[in-house]
């Protein structure tokens, strides 16, 4: 039922492929740990691939926001890739699409970190 996070690096960008459910408890902890692991290595370009995220609750949304702000506070960038309809709708209704930079295309997302 829960979440998996795999990190890979493509052209200097750290992509965390998330799959499963980002919910209170284990789900948010795994996301946080994956992001922190990168931040501790001073990796500043993080792309969260949410293509395989089937469900996110309000705590999961909160965790996306914390990841974003801790990243920004370190002078880094955290962006989102491949929102499912459900996740898109939740970020839209909570006005977070105005906060996150969101991409549908991995190559374009990677490119965006260059500028």
């Amino acid at each position: 039922m829960s979440i998996k996070a795999n990190t890979r690096k493509v052209e200097g960008v750290n992509i965390i492929d998330l799959s499963g459910r980002i919910t209170i408890g284990e789900g948010t902890v795994i996301l946080r740990d994956a992001v922190r692991a990168l931040q501790q290595k001073n990796e500043r370009h993080i792309l969260l691939n949410l293509a395989e995220v089937s469900y996110i609750d309000s705590s999961g949304i909160g965790e996306l926001v914390s990841s974003f702000t801790t990243s920004r506070n370190q002078g880094g960038k955290l962006r989102l890739l491949h929102l499912t309809k459900k996740v898109h709708d939740l970020l839209s209704i909570t006005k977070l699409l105005t906060v996150f930079e969101v991409f549908d295309d991995e190559a374009k997302a990677i490119q965006s970190f260059r500028s």
């Binding site: 039922m1 919910t23 209170i24 408890g25 609750d57 309000s58 705590s59 949304i61 909160g62 965790e63 926001v65 914390s66 974003f68 702000t69 459900k86 939740l90 209704i93 909570t94 006005k95 977070l96 105005t98 906060v99």
Partner: protein, 142 residues
């Protein structure tokens, strides 16, 4: 199931271990009520958020306190009541998570989402007993 009302009550201890179970049971009941896929998703999410709040904010994870969930439904509506044994809170004092000042907060979106997706939402403090949250999803007579 006919259009007469069904009623199921569930009581759990204040631990997040039960949230998946509650979600499954909610799923079963929404199917029994004839809900469509979207309705099931929204109702499951609403129950999950409110039960999580009851465990976390209401009973503060005190395993000696219970959370009760009452489901009442027929073909026209799906109604849920959630009780905890905590002190409750004031809905009118909740910050708006969509306010630019709050957009970067890492919490405070649960009740907002439930109110967005449900047709009715209310909160009652029951003196010396706890808090009741009630919400309703109208089901289009299909």
């Amino acid at each position: 199931m006919e259009s007469k009302e069904s009623r199921v009550e569930l009581r759990i201890l204040s631990s997040l271990e039960y949230t998946d179970l509650v979600e499954n049971i909610t799923g079963n009941l929404t199917l029994l009520a004839g809900c469509n896929t979207d309705q099931i998703y929204f109702i499951q999410m609403a129950v999950r958020e409110i039960v999580t709040n009851a465990i976390q904010h209401g009973n503060r994870f005190d395993i000696n306190k219970a959370v009760s969930i009452l489901y009442e439904f027929d073909r026209g509506r799906f109604e849920v009541h959630v009780w905890d044994q905590g002190d409750g809170f004031d809905l009118s004092h909740l910050p708006d998570p969509c306010d630019p000042a709050n957009l970067l907060k890492s919490s405070g979106r649960g009740i907002f989402l439930v109110r967005s997706f449900m047709d009715d939402f209310s909160l009652i403090r029951i003196p010396w007993r706890g808090t009741e949250v009630r919400f309703v999803k109208k089901l289009a007579a299909s």
